[in-house]
């Protein structure tokens, strides 16, 4: 599904990602943890095609295509989804109008017919229920005046509508109360399937109680310092990142 090879990325004047290797197969859920500033969002931004990141070396293939050569919208239409750490507010752009335009762009790309306003509304209502989103919220402008938790739920609502093949969710759990966390996790779990993969970026093991990952990776100073199963998250929760630093130093020496 997604294969990252020795990816080195520069932002501003600094090398932020210093050689990332990651292989995600269809149906797998991976989690990336790591201290603030270690490069998690930089990886997410690079993969989704945001401007301002320079690929120094390495490559990323997504379903056999060279992901990094595609425009952001083509990545989306090919089934790549980014759930933003900080979703932007876009006053004046209606949430539903925007999502129907997005869904139709994706459908057109796949050679499918456009969905009309009525069918879209039915579909949207179903997904709103799944995310326990208030209908009035989706009638407003994109994220405008949404609370932090509402913005995150709106990201998952969008994902549920657009049905991507791969979703990268950047701190989808931050700012969520306990109920919202459960709702968001349910939303994600309902989309899990043998053809769809996820990469979750998170600081907290708690999310991984709800969405149980197949693999956990620790990003440290722009490198994956350690990978393991879901128990690695528990270990991090318990010990913090000190011991990872030791590992990173050793591998740096080698």
């Amino acid at each position: 599904m997604l294969n990252i090879h020795h990816l080195v990325v520069k932002a501003g004047d600094a090398i932020i990602l210093k050689g990332i290797d990651l292989h995600i197969k269809p149906g797998e859920v991976h989690a990336i943890m790591g201290p603030n500033g270690s490069g998690k969002s930089t990886l997410a931004n690079t993969l989704s095609g945001r401007a301002g990141y320079e690929i120094v070396s390495g490559s990323v293939s997504f379903q056999g295509q060279d992901l990094l050569s595609l425009a952001p919208e083509i990545r989306a239409r090919e089934g790549f989804f980014l759930g933003f750490q900080y979703p932007v507010e876009i006053p004046g752009v209606g949430n539903m109008y925007f999502l129907r335009a997005a869904l139709n762009a994706i459908r057109k790309h796949r050679g499918e017919p456009e969905i009309d306003a009525l069918d879209f509304l039915t579909l949207a209502k179903e997904k709103m229920k799944l995310l326990e989103l208030d209908e009035t919220l989706t009638k407003r402008s994109v994220n405008e005046g949404f609370s932090g938790g509402e913005k995150k739920r709106n990201e998952i609502f969008q994902m549920a509508l657009l049905q991507p093949k791969f979703a990268l969710l950047d701190e989808i759990d931050s700012g969520l109360d306990i109920d919202a966390l459960r709702i968001v996790a349910n939303g994600v779990n309902s989309l899990r399937g043998p053809e769809r993969s996820f990469l979750l970026i998170t600081h907290y093991q708690r999310l991984l109680d709800y969405i149980v990952p197949d693999y956990v990776h620790v990003l440290f100073h722009g490198k994956i310092a350690k990978s393991g199963g879901k128990e690695l998250a528990l270990e991090l929760e318990e010990k913090g990142y000190g011991w990872i630093e030791e590992i990173a130093k050793k591998s740096g020496d080698a």
């Binding site: 989704s48 095609g49 945001r50 401007a51 425009a71 952001p72 919208e73 990545r75 989306a76 239409r77 980014l82 933003f84 979703p87 932007v88 876009i90 006053p91 004046g92 752009v93 925007f98 999502l99 335009a101 997005a102 869904l103 762009a105 994706i106 790309h109 402008s141 994109v142 969008q158 657009l162």
Partner: protein
């Protein structure tokens, strides 16, 4: 022939048409022509015309338009008439500045309402009203275009609302400026007079559409009196094109506790200059002026507003948004004067501009001149470009760069278009904007490109 001599000739040529006019009007026209001769076209040395060069107008020997048969209207003009918002309430239509009885629908006007061709009116019972008001509200410094207009105007709209009349439906005024009908480069001069007697309420929607690709000048002067306790919502939707030149000015006089609200959408035009002025002539008058102007390619849009607080306790609000693409030039000048006795004035003015390319330009100048001490006034101006974060967010969901830009640009405009008083008008305006900016944004070679001025 120099430009002034050219217009003197035009004036002489139209003598026959004037022969039936009352003597007071002929006298006013002659006096105005003399004013125009003295003033000439405005030069850029005048502060009010600093950024707007009218050479293309002064140096083109435009010929006054003549009546056309409806049968010769272009299909685009015909299509414009099909807009559902024209179905209700009185509708008055002008083709190249000349009244078309055939296209108008004035029979349904309620009692107490007069909507008619200004030039037809002097022979009737309204002559005294027209004589008392026509040209009497124009500020002295309204530029020589007003003088030229008084000398040459061919026709226009006369609206009169009797005391206490409250209109249910808007009065629709449609100007079709269609050069596929005209014989070469032509000009029309229209003159409008709207009189609202005390406690009457109306909405007037003016739609001005350009079609065809021959240079065309439209000069319009409108005088409005909103009497004590009366209220007028004035909507102007103007869509120019690559060869249209517009110079229009509206002067409002507001009496005590009157309300005037202007909502304008100025879309393109080779040159589009609009002046909107209100004189708050008595206590507790309220004036709201809000609008959107947009231009692309090498177009120039110039929006001037002026509010004069003459008496205490009046409020005014000005809010204009501008969208400039390609190498377009926008000018905004919003001036508020608070006269010495106008205590307890409240005035708020804001101008926001969106520049869509490095080549686009805006000269924005909100001005506040205060001669009273107990007032609450504020003004501000901002200029920016589309947010990269928002663009990326939309693209990350599958929208193309063009679609994302178009959507965000329309969102910027939405704050103003949302003020339009009907669903039809909002829809129509949004469609214009979509088309207008699609024209600009779609990259070269894109096949579904449509020329401006062709309705979909």
């Amino acid at each position: 022939m120099d430009s002034q001599a050219h217009y003197l000739q035009q004036f002489a040529n139209a003598a026959h048409a004037r022969s039936a006019e009352p003597s007071w009007l002929r006298a006013r026209r002659e006096a105005a022509l003399a004013d125009f001769q003295r003033l000439g076209f405005p030069s850029q040395k005048l502060e009010d015309w600093r950024y707007t060069n009218v050479r293309e107008i002064s140096e083109t020997p435009f010929v006054l338009t003549t009546p056309k048969t409806v049968g010769s209207l272009s299909s685009a003009s015909r299509e414009a008439l099909q807009d559902p918002s024209f179905d209700r309430g009185p509708r008055i239509v002008f083709v190249n500045g000349i009244f078309s009885a055939e296209l108008s629908a004035l029979d349904s006007s309620p009692k107490g309402l007069r909507v008619e061709s200004l030039c037809a009116a002097p022979q009737r019972d309204t002559e005294r009203l027209i004589e008392e008001n026509l040209g009497q509200h124009l500020a002295d410094n309204l530029s020589s275009f007003a003088a030229l207009n008084t000398a040459l105007f061919q026709d226009g709209v006369f609206v009169h609302l009797a005391r206490g009349l409250v209109l249910e439906h808007p009065i629709q005024i449609l100007h079709l400026l269609d050069t596929t009908l005209s014989d070469g480069e032509s000009a029309c001069f229209s003159r409008n007079l709207y009189l609202l007697e005390p406690d009457s309420h109306a909405t007037i929607v003016e739609t001005v559409l350009n079609f065809g690709d021959t240079r065309f000048l439209c000069n319009a002067i409108t005088e409005i009196v909103v009497s004590r306790g009366a209220s007028l919502k004035h909507v102007v939707l103007q869509r120019g094109n690559a060869t249209s030149l517009h110079v229009s000015a509206t002067q409002v006089r507001q009496d005590a506790a009157s309300r005037f609200e202007s909502i304008s959408i100025l879309l393109g035009g080779k040159l589009a200059r609009s002046d909107l002025r209100s004189l708050l002539n008595a206590e507790r008058a309220e004036c709201k002026m809000r609008g959107l102007y947009a231009a692309c390619q090498h177009q120039l849009v110039d929006q001037h507003t002026f509010v004069s607080h003459e008496k205490p306790l009046c409020t005014s609000e000005g809010y204009y948004k501008g969208i400039l693409a390609d190498r377009a030039h926008g000018v905004f000048n919003g001036r508020v004067i608070v006269q010495p006795h106008a205590q307890k004035t409240s005035s708020l003015q804001s101008n926001k501009n969106l520049l869509l390319s490095d080549g686009a330009e805006i000269d924005s100048k909100p001005e506040l001149i205060i001669h009273a001490d107990d007032v609450k006034c504020a003004h501000g101006s901002t200029t920016g470009s589309l947010s990269e974060d928002s663009l990326f967010y939309l693209r990350s969901r599958g929208l193309s760069e063009d679609e994302a830009k178009n959507l965000l640009t329309r969102a910027f405009a939405a704050e103003i278009t949302a003020l339009l008083p009907s669903e039809h008008l909002r829809h129509r305006t949004d469609a214009w904007l979509t088309e207008y900016f699609a024209e600009h944004f779609l990259s070269d070679g894109n096949s579904n490109k449509k020329p401006i001025g062709v309705t979909s």
